[in-house]
Symmetry: C2
DNA sequence: TAGATTGTTAATCGATTAACAATC
DNA sequence: TAGATTGTTAATCGATTAACAATC
């Protein structure tokens, strides 16, 4: 598998690290440096690079400028991609105002909500009535959305987004969504994440107590 | 590896599905049903169950009540676990008010912020000054926190949380955190998630155009 | 040339899936 | 008994890591 999710994610990390190094005045890097920067191993870095056709110089490492340029082309960093938020509850509103996207190649074009009270066309990121969703997606050729609606309506809202042309979503509703073959869904289940953390922390606690008793 | 992150996550999913089935009046399930419910395969379910010592009846499937009970014991569902939010920016505030936690065994005990303006001791989930963080963690024996502070201060804030006794965090800052061996970090990098979705969606688009040209 | 570093091929590892024996 | 389902052992798969040849 050429382009697994994790290898692509690492490419973005490499790029970010390279920009930092460039900013600090560096001109070239070795695979070892890249590895340190993103918390991987040098072999992993070279493997990833070779997978995506990024070549360096035997003994001389990689030219930072050249590498960034190639990554930009590979990752489509040349243009800004508009993304929409559907549902302006707690999570939806947080993402509308999230500053972390500014540095990247994506920006939130608009949010949608069924609650007319939340509509606000003049805000920096406007909130529009849900009825305008389809037209907006089509008119602005939106490909990716953030699904931040209640669990119970998630599937039916997604269906409408798909019908209008959306090809991928970041889903915050704790349900398994039904999607066609060529559609990307990344699920973020915050409760589940916390529970899993809790599980391992508690497991260690129990283990420790056990060991203490034995001692 | 007995308890990988993913197998534990699936246990929580099984439990959730079982509660739904029970609510609908079902008394027993087969591995096939469980698989459908969480989007896995029957073999996967039986493998997970055997890994955690959950046994059924040859030919008779699994008793729902019994299974839930065992999962509760396994996952520590007997008590409520307090969790804190550090940083009350966009993400932090959204999580403070997130309803999705109500159904689970965790609740947000308090939030912390350096901005005195945001302090509010009388809210349902109080926001306290950052200076009270250590005492609060120690007094309430908090083990898990949500780190929703700016990237630049994430590590130093985490260091203070660790010093006070925190053993695991859900990290929203887009940085690699330095932690000791027995410490759990789950990273949620929202920008990265969206970028990766965008990558695959664009990759398909390019591919399609390519194929159209050939045709 | 000797040393350092890349890039590829092979080995390992963990997780998922397949095959099948056990048994209700 | 025959059929259905569990539970385990073996095979497969993908991703990471190790080994090493190429070469600047």
């Amino acid at each position: 598998m050429k382009t697994s999710k994790s290898s692509v994610t690492r490419l973005y990390s490499y790029r970010e690290a390279l920009l930092r190094l460039k900013y600090l005045g560096f001109v070239k890097v070795f695979s070892e440096n890249m590895a340190d920067a993103i918390g991987a191993t040098a072999v992993q870095v070279r493997k990833d690079f070779s997978l995506f056709g990024l070549v360096g110089n035997k003994r001389g490492g990689y030219q930072i400028d050249e590498l960034i340029q190639k990554l930009d082309a590979l990752l489509g960093k040349d243009k800004k991609y508009p993304v929409i938020v559907v549902g302006s509850g707690n999570i939806g509103r947080a993402l509308m105002n999230y500053k972390g996207f500014l540095a990247s190649d994506l920006h939130i074009a608009a949010a949608f909500d069924t609650d007319e009270q939340k509509v606000n066309r003049s805000a920096e990121v406007p909130t529009l009535p849900f009825g305008e969703l389809k037209d907006f997606i089509k008119k602005n050729k939106i490909k990716v959305g953030i699904l931040a609606v209640p669990e119970l309506v998630a599937q039916q809202v997604l269906d409408q987004m798909m019908a209008a042309g959306i090809k991928g979503v970041l889903n915050f509703a704790p349900v398994r969504l039904n999607t066609p073959e060529k559609f990307v869904v990344h699920n973020v289940n915050l409760g589940r994440e916390l529970e899993t953390i809790l599980y391992f922390v508690n497991a260690w606690d129990r283990q420790e107590q056990h060991e203490t008793h034995k001692a």
